[in-house]
């Protein structure tokens, strides 16, 4: 039965067309504000994750690997690749002042041929000196050091039920899988030196390695460097370039610069569209509300004649605005979340940057903020509506347009 409490719902139901229009605009507003802020937050989360996962301040690679290694894009777009330099470069680099830790890595790429389960980037580390991979492995695998033919895979690498991945006809046991970073690190397979040497030799045998003249025991692909606290990363990198021949040096700043630049551009565009959508949505909500007040002014005047105070009528208008905008806002947030979760990989690809769904706390905060932005639009339109009603001469309204 009718009550003052359910009157707004009955009015919203009674004016289905107007309610649908308000729902649509509040939904679009929430979709834009929540989606937009989630995308920006997701890109930031990806950037932070990549920075922390990268772990090194400086990465040294062979100078002639430039065609295979673009420092600014390697974390976003790199195709699996491999390049080698003499192991002795390590000793030369070690002489440069300001280095706290350094560890060599050996790269390999699997082939598309039938000998391999997937085309991935393989990264081997030295368990004795590594400081960039093992801390993360500890998050996913805690049963001691990795053994021969054990691997940990990035989040994009498919793990089958038997936990076996095959490279150059060698079965490797998957003992863990990393959480996503939204970067090319998600396509990598991590292993120790002994494992990668087996695989490199197997690739030689199959004639699938262009560097068959190298002895896997005497080469490395990259040196990861952590500088001493207080040391200038750029200076150390410059000194390595000067003092060590035949190497190319990239700092973590360069490595994530591509992502950072993209983040700025995308954040700017997304913010612009979010604000534009919100403004259009708010304007449309105000317009629809103004039309609604005009359309129903005889109803409000009648309520006044029945003895409704201005407060009762104002509450009615405000509750109608809040209910419809809240419903539209929640719908928009749910729809936006569904799109983001379902197409997160595609979004990352389209934007050309690493994209990670933010954590639950961030999601809740952003959803709350999106709802508030929609409710703000509702408050503005309700306020304008209430002002119009409170300035209305009810007796005149009841006399005119009978």
């Amino acid at each position: 039965m009718i009550s003052l409490k359910n009157l707004p719902y009955k009015n919203l139901k009674g004016y289905a067309g107007r309610t649908a229009a308000l729902l649509l605009f509040s939904m679009l507003m929430a979709l834009a504000t929540f989606g937009g802020t989630m995308v920006i937050s997701g890109i930031r989360a990806g950037l932070n994750k990549v920075e922390s996962r990268f772990g090194a301040d400086i990465m040294v690679t062979p100078e002639d690997a430039k065609n295979d290694f673009d420092a600014q894009n390697v974390l976003l777009k790199a195709e699996p690749g491999y390049f080698y330099m003499e192991k002795g470069k390590m000793d030369e680099i070690a002489k440069v002042d300001g280095i706290e830790k350094m560890s060599a890595q050996l790269f390999m790429a699997s082939a598309k041929a039938g000998c391999c389960s997937a085309k991935v980037q393989m990264i081997a580390y030295d368990p004795a000196t590594d400081f960039t991979i093992q801390p993360w492995i500890a998050d996913t695998y805690t049963d001691g050091p990795m053994g021969l033919m054990d691997v940990v895979v990035g989040s994009n690498v498919t793990v089958y039920d038997n936990h076996i991945i095959r490279f150059y006809d060698n079965d490797c046991r998957i003992i863990g899988q990393f959480a996503p970073t939204g970067s090319t690190l998600d396509n990598c397979v991590y292993m120790n030196y002994d494992t990668v040497k087996v695989l490199i030799k197997a690739s030689f045998k199959k004639g699938l390695n262009q560097y068959s003249e190298y002895d896997p025991d005497d080469v490395i692909s990259a040196v990861m460097i952590k500088v001493r606290p207080g040391a200038d990363i750029e200076k150390v990198a410059g000194d390595i370039t000067k003092q060590v021949d035949g190497v190319s040096v990239a700092t973590s700043k360069n490595m994530v610069a591509g992502i950072g630049d993209s983040l700025k551009k995308i954040s700017g565009s997304v913010s612009f569209f979010t604000v534009t959508f919100w403004l259009i949505g708010t304007l449309m909500t105000i317009l629809i509300f103004a039309m609604m007040i005009n359309e129903r002014k005889r109803e409000f005047a009648s309520l006044w004649a029945m003895g409704a105070s201005r407060k009762i009528i104002s509450d009615l208008v405000i509750r109608e605005a809040v209910v419809v905008n809240l419903a539209g806002g929640i719908l928009g947030i749910v729809l936006s979340a569904l799109i983001l979760f379902m197409f997160k990989d595609l979004i990352g690809q389209v934007l050309g940057v690493g994209f990670l769904i933010p954590g639950p706390v961030t999601i809740i905060l952003l959803a709350g903020a999106a709802l508030l932005s929609v409710l703000l639009a509702a408050a503005i339109s309700a306020w304008i509506g209430v002002r119009r009603i409170s300035r209305m001469d009810a007796s005149l309204v009841l006399k005119e347009g009978q």
Binding site: L4, R298, A305, G307, R310, D393, S395, L398, Q402
Partner: protein, 223 residues
């Protein structure tokens, strides 16, 4: 209960010139007593609806006072005046005044739910709808009703709270003679049961039901 107007006057500003006014109701005295059925007739624009709205607490007079018993209703704050209107004054405005999203029965129950959280008096509302002859339409939406049926719904709604004062603005406009008689009989019955009833109309069909007939002309009331 006595509704009394002392020297009430209403001026309206003319459009476009804020310093220029026209007087819709010249200062007049008026008394409406319990059990009395009074009719004010007059041409359109004579000021009778303006007077009725001032008596209903809907339109603040430019001068003079309106008393309900000894209470100056325009000295009350907006909230108290609204509550008083709800409890003591049943107003039947001109034209269609239904909330289109509600059924006829829900529309009749509206005055009750404004200040009461208890179950609305459905039976009473149905009885009133029966008395005005539209009980069969209680579940219908207002847009399914004719003008006369909507007017009768407004009368049932105005009577729901058993007001001491019933003020009706052209309650029979557009009704056929049968419906006109039904509506006026109902208002007469309300007066006989103790309500103070005032009808303003530009027609004279109410003359047979009333205790007093007054005429309004050019904003002035004549006995």
């Amino acid at each position: 209960m006595i509704l009394r107007a002392d020297e009430v006057r209403k001026d309206f500003p003319r459009a476009g010139k804020s310093s220029n006014y026209f007087t819709a109701v010249y200062p007049l005295d008026f008394v409406l007593e319990s059990g009395q059925f009074t009719v004010i007739t007059g041409k359109s624009g004579s000021g009778k609806s303006t007077l009725l709205n001032m008596l209903a607490g809907m339109l603040t007079p430019s001068g003079g006072k309106v008393f309900l018993d000894d209470k100056d209703i325009y000295s009350l704050d907006e909230k108290t005046l609204a509550r008083l209107r709800n409890e003591k004054i049943g107003l039947i405005p001109q034209g269609h005044t239904a909330l289109l999203s509600l059924t006829v029965l829900e529309n009749v129950l509206l005055p009750y739910i404004l200040y009461n959280k208890a179950q609305p008096p459905e039976k009473k509302a149905k009885d009133l709808l029966d008395q005005v002859g539209i009980a069969s339409l209680m579940e219908a939406r207002p847009n399914e009703l004719s003008g006369g049926e909507l007017r009768r719904m407004a009368i049932a709604r105005a009577m729901l709270m058993e007001p001491s004062i019933l003020l009706a603005d052209e309650p029979t406009a557009g009704l056929d003679s049968e419906n006109t008689i039904a509506v006026l009989s109902l208002l007469r019955q309300a007066a006989d049961e103790g309500a103070a009833v005032l009808v303003v109309t530009h027609e004279n069909e109410a003359d047979h039901f009333t205790d007093h007939v007054l005429t309004m002309d050019g904003g002035r009331l004549k006995g």
